[in-house]
Symmetry: C2
Subunit: 330 residues, 2 copies
DNA sequence: GTGAAAGCGCTAACAA
DNA sequence: TTGTTAGCGCTTTCAC
């Protein structure tokens, strides 16, 4: 493996000159610089980031911790992070935590050992204190998709606004009795969207009926099961916490001859690609997933460069109207 | 950031002793080792992989180049790689190439600069020579999902066998005139599966009709478009090169009142999760995606440790029968 | 404009 | 069993 010493010898100069030349620092004549760059290319030199770290404490590596790379939602965020960072010379260390707090902690340690410059973390399980070790070792942290605490910057989607738009749309489509399949009751996402529902109901003088709301793990299977349960309650509409759950609801309806949107209006959240590919296209809320990842990476880099105060960025979602809630009569 | 020097001072020994103790090498009394380990956790020490590299030339980092992390297929492979490697103390550098050869080359350079120990590459665009720089700088390479050349180990799914099973099943279900929406004509995947079709047709004395075969980009939209085209040709069945394309086909049928499987049998390939969630569950071929990633990582680690000859691992696929091809009458 | 020298945090060969 | 020493490849003062 060729090092700057090889280049130095080849050019009859010292390593320090090569370093200056290659890093675009001044104090090198243009002619020499050209020669050095040329031989570095000829020799197939690629800078050694490991050795460079030792001298500069800059690794040009960013950690990315996420619950499940297999989820299209998180995968899209990961894409945003990677695609933004690569052209800037950063590489990303992917950590798949499997939604497991212990695994998250292990990944955090690993990122410390690898001396990354910063980490983007998406976690529903991690506690604030789990991440302090990173801060204490001088590694910047930005939370994406969900906040982790006042000490950390974050980039999130505006769940309240998104849900507001969606529920208003449903009301306009004629919904009067909306069932909800939500996630964990304590999760901020669930809370925000439920608050939006309450507000919209209030705006329309409809009473909130908490029997129409169930909390569960956000899976396809639970969508199917809970749909069965809620439909027995004479609801005319069903909001699912995400598109995957909505898919479960839709499947249940198809299996039982329930026509969407005629017999039941269905709405999801996230705007996964699949929502537009199915028989009855899903009305949902579009999340700027790739952008969210990009913004998180952007913010992280800023914090790495200038030690700024924690910042919070809220991204505006967009209503995606398809046919699963019927027509907007307004 | 605490270093072994800090631990050494704290314990009143030298850094080399600390190094030996922490790395489980012998030549340290058990009492001292315990003391050193204890203070290392007390001080919150995490080994410095960057400095360690300089001394050992081992980074414990693996590169993963893939076409699109957003694709559920590649994401599952990535999961296999990550989940296998993490407990072994390796981290993975995720490189999203966007199916772009130039981007792949840039990623390769970046992985060289980061001095990774090895890389798993999934690429349909990279040429063999693009990867030689890695080999030449002593970085091991294993191809996953698709082979790249005799110099490289690979782990692939057996496309020929998988397609064989699928087409035999279709024949048993009554298919006599099978249309195909394939990928690029030159791709090995396409070739293997088409050969399987030809063989099965031959087994059943059915003539191969090349007008029933189209080559295209494997997208949902193209599935939709080509379905339209092929259905006009009086086919009774349609094989799509992957489930995403099959979804396009199904959507076209739903939009045009074509009943699956009654009017048209449809089969896909890959067994994406979504295939079981839609109205008419998709018959497809299950690919061991996570296992494929795991095996690739396993093989890579082997090659890193012992300089073995290139190896090829072929994974057996499994037919997943659902209802989109109707019943098996055999 | 260029070179010399020190140092980053670790491991490993050699001494004691 | 432990310490001493050198060195990995780079950057960065400080001289010249």
């Amino acid at each position: 493996m060729v090092s700057i010493v090889d280049i130095a010898k080849e050019c009859g100069v010292t390593p320090s000159t090569v370093s200056r030349a290659l890093n675009g620092k001044d104090g090198v004549s243009e002619a020499l610089r050209d020669k050095i760059i040329k031989t570095s290319v000829d020799l197939g030199y690629e800078s050694n980031e490991k050795a460079r770290w030792l001298a500069t404490k800059e690794s040009r590596q960013i950690g990315l911790i996420l619950p499940d790379i297999t989820s299209p939602y998180y995968a899209a965020i990961a894409k945003g992070v990677c695609d933004y960072l690569r052209p800037l010379g950063y590489s990303v260390l992917l950590c798949n935590s499997s939604r497991d707090r212990h695994e998250e902690k292990e990944n955090i340690k690993m990122l410390q050992r690898q001396r990354v410059d910063g980490v983007v973390v998406i976690s529903v399980t991690a506690k604030e204190e789990d991440l302090f070790p990173l801060l204490n070792s001088g590694i910047k942290v930005v939370a994406a998709d969900v906040e982790i605490g006042p000490a950390f910057s974050s980039v999130v989607n505006d769940n309240y606004q998104g849900a507001l738009m969606l529920f208003r749309h449903m009301i306009k489509c004629g919904s009067r009795n909306i069932g909800c399949i939500l996630g964990e009751a304590q999760s901020q996402t669930t809370v925000d969207r439920l608050n939006a529902l309450k507000r919209v109901l209030e705006e329309n003088s409809i009473e909130f009926n908490k029997d129409n709301v169930v909390y569960t793990d956000a899976t396809f299977e639970n969508g199917y099961k809970k749909a069965k349960m809620l439909i027995s309650k004479k609801i005319d509409s069903l909001f699912a916490i995400n598109d995957t759950v909505a898919l479960g609801v839709i499947k249940y309806c198809q299996d039982h001859g329930i026509n969407i949107p005629h017999d039941l209006k269905v709405a999801g959240y996230d705007d996964l690609e699949i929502g537009s590919m199915i028989e009855v296209p899903l009305t949902t809320v579009h999340q700027r997933k790739v952008l969210l990842g990009r913004k998180a990476a952007e913010l992280l880099l800023q914090e790495i460069k200038s030690h700024s105060e924690p910042l919070k960025i809220v991204l505006a979602p967009k209503l995606t109207v398809r046919s699963s809630c019927g027509e907007n009569f307004l």
